[in-house]
Amino acid sequence: MVQAARSGSIDTVTIALIGNPNTGKSTLFSALCGVHQHTGNYPGVTVERKTGDFRWGDRSIELIDLPGTYSLAPRSPDEMITVDVLLGRQKGTAPPRSVLCIVDASNLERNLYLVSQVLELGLPTVVALNMMDVAAARGITIDAGELARRLRIPVVPIQANRRRGLDDLKTALASGTRGLVEHSVPAFPAPFEQAVTELASRSAAISGQEPPRFLVQRLLLDTTVYLSESGMPGINGVLANDLQQARERLATAGCAVPGVEAISRYNWVGEVLKGVVSRSNESRVTASDRIDRLLTHRYYGTAFFVATMALMFQLVYLIAEPANGLLDAAKSWLASVVGGMLAEGPLRSLLVTGVIEGVGSVLVFLPQIFVLFFCIAVLEDCGYMARAAYLMDRLMFRIGLNGKSFIPLLSSFACAIPGIMATRVIENRRDRLVTMLVAPLMSCSARMPIYSLLIATFIPERVWLRVFGLRGLVWFAAYAVGSCTAIVVAMLLKRTLLRGDTPPFVMELPSYKYPEWRVVLLRMGQRGWEFVRRAGTLILAVSILVWAAAYYPHRESDIPGEWRARHAQIQAALDDASGLSETDRAAFSEELSHLDRQIQGEYLRRSWLGMAGRGLEPFVKPLGWDWRIGCAVVASFPAREVVVATLGVIYNLGTETSDQDEQLHAALRNATWEDSGKPVFGIPVALSLIVFFALCAQCGSTLVVMRRETGSWRWPIFTFTYMTSLAYFGAFLSYQIACWCGW
C-alpha cells in the first residue's frame, strides 16, 4: 500500500488467503510474499494477523493470511475473525477483493468443503491446487481443467514448496479480481433455501438493513448459539423465535440442522469430483501409514517420543549455552569499552548498567528461542507435532488440557517465551490460556544460576546409597515444585475462571513429509525477531527504571568520610608512580578495588531501591529475608537471573559476579542481620529463596510476550499476581517448616 501511495498509478488489491490446516498455506504465503510480511494481532482476540505483499505486472497485491480452518462456521471469537475479514466487516482491515483458497490435492474431498463455503461469499475466488506431487505419488490424478469448468473459477495446480506454478497463480490472481463471476454453489434442499430467504427478509424488516445472506444461513445452521449471542445486527428476541420455528419446520421436512449442511456440501463435493479425480492403485496403506504405525506404537512410539524430546533439550544446551557465553562475553566487552570511554558518572552507569545490561537481558534469551523454535518448526512441518499431541493426549486430559499443550509446556523448561508462543497451535481459547498461564511455572534455564548459587552455598552434600545426593535432591525438588504447582493451577483454572466444556480432540494427522527448510528458518527468524521487537523496548525501559532506582540519589555525602579520604590517599599514592615497590603497588590496588566495591555497595544501600528494600523488610522478614535480599529480589523483576549480580553488589563484590563465584558464596555465608548480628543465610533462607524463585513471575519478557499473545494486559497481570502470591506463601511455608525442623 505504501508503494501504491508513492507511485500513484499502481492498483493495490487486497486478497484473502484461506485454506485447511496442513495444506502448505504458510509455504505458499512465504513463496508469494518472501520477506515482505507483517504480523500483529486482531484487537481483542488471540489470533495472529499476518499480511504480506507482492507485485505482479501493474498490480500490487496485499495478501491477508487467514488462520488455517476446516470450515467457515464461526463458533468462537477467534473463528469469527476469519468470517468478518472475508465479509469486509473487520475494522482496520481492507475488505478483500477476492479470495485465494489453497487445497491439498491429495485430500480433495475434505478440502472442497471449505471451498464450497467460500464460494457462497460471492467473492471472486481462485483455487490453488497444492501438493500435486503427493497426490501423484499416491496414484491420484486430477483433471484440474475439468475441475475449473465445474467450479467456474480458476484452478491452478501448484507445488508451493518447489515454487512451481506460482506465476500462473499470480496471473490468475491479478486478472481474476476484475468483476464478479457466477460460481457453482452447492445446492441446499429447497425448504432450507426458502427458510434462509424468509429469515433474511424478517431481519431486514426489523433492523432496516439486509444482512449478508451468508450470515443468515450461518445463523440458521448454528445450533451452538454462538452467533445468536454475538450481537450481530438485526438479531433480537423476535428473530430467535423465528429461528426456532424455522428449525422445527426443517426438521419435519427431513433436512434437520445442523446435519443438513455437511450432508448437502459433501453431496455437492461428490458430484463435482465425479470423473475429475481418479485413483490408479487401490492400496490403502501408504508409506506415511507405515511410519505412523511405528511412531504411534505403544512402546516404540513412546520411546521415540522421549528420545526426540531429549534430543531437543540436548540441542538447546549444546547450541544455546555456548551462544549465551559469546553473548555474555560481547556484553562484558562492550561494557568495558563504553565504560573506558566515559568518565565516572550517571551517564556511564546508565549505559553500562542500565542499557547494556537491559539489552543483554533480552538478547540472552535469543539463542534458546531460536533453537527451540527451530525444533518446533521442524516437528510441525514434518507432521510429527500432531503425533506428539496424539501420544500425550491421555496424559494431558487428566489435568484438564489436551495433547497439544504438551510441547509448549515442555519447551517452557528451557524458556517460557517460546513455550508461550508455541501455544498458537491450540485452537481452543480456554485451553490455550490455561497453558500460557501455567507455562512460566516450569523451571526455565534462567532459574539455574539462582538454584546453583544457593545450593552450592548452603546445602551440604550428603550422599545416600551412593547415588542419591542431597544437593541433587534439592535440584529435583526445585523443578518438581514448579511442575506440580503448574498441574494444580491448571486444574483449578479449568474448574473456576476458565471453566467450560471439554474441547474436542478432533485432529487431523497429516502425512509425514520432509521439513521445508525455507519455511522452518523463516518461522524461526520471524518469531525470534518478533520477540526482540515486542519485548525489547519494554524490557529496556524497565531495566532503565530499575537502574535509576538502584543508582539515585547517589549522594557523595552518604559515603563515610574516612572511606573517601582513604580512597583519595591510595589513588594519589598509585598515581605518584615513583617510590612504590611492586608488592606495595599490588596491595594498594587490592585495597582500592575493595574500597570501590564497598562504596558501590554503600551507594546501592542508600539508593531508592535500598530504601524500598528497608521499607519492605517487615514483609519479607517472615520469609527469613533481610532487606538486602528483598532489594535484590525487587531489582530482579525484569529478569530473575539478575538477582545473582545484585546480591554481588549488595555484598560489595562488584557487578561481575557469577553463581560459581567462591567470594559470593563466602559473602553470603558471612552475612549477618544488622540489628542482632546473627547470620542471615542458612538452609531455611536458601530453601525459601529457591521456592520463591521456582514460583515467581520475575521475568518481564515472559509477561510482555503473554500480553502480546493474549491481546491484553489482563492475563500477564493476573499471572504476575497469582505467581508472586504463590511464591510468597511457598517461601513463607518452606522457611517456617525448615526452621521448625531445626535445619
Binding site: R75, N107, G259, R284, L391, R394, P504, F505
Partner: protein, 74 residues
C-alpha cells in the same frame, strides 16, 4: 454400534452423527456424514485417542467423540 467400539483394522460405514453441539458439527465438517466409510487404523499408547482413516486422510478422535458416530460394520 458406534465408532468407539471398533477394533483396529475394522471397517465400517457411518449411519449418522448424534448430537447437534459444536463437537458433532466439527465431526460432520471433517467429512463424517451418512454413508462415509471409515477404518480404525490404530490407537495411542493408553488406548485413547483413536486414529481413523476417512476420505483418504487420517483423523484422530477420542473414544468419547467417536462414540457419537453410529456405524454399521462392513
Amino acid at each position: 454400534m458406534n465408532a468407539g467400539e471398533m477394533s483396529v483394522g475394522e471397517q465400517a460405514s457411518v449411519v449418522r452423527v448424534t448430537g447437534d453441539d459444536a463437537i458433532s458439527c466439527r465431526l460432520m465438517e471433517m467429512g463424517i456424514v451418512p454413508a462415509t466409510e471409515l477404518e480404525l487404523i490404530g490407537m495411542a499408547p493408553w488406548g485413547d485417542p483413536l486414529e481413523f482413516a476417512i476420505r483418504g486422510y487420517r483423523l484422530s478422535l477420542r473414544r468419547a467423540e467417536a462414540a457419537r458416530i453410529e456405524i454399521v460394520a462392513k
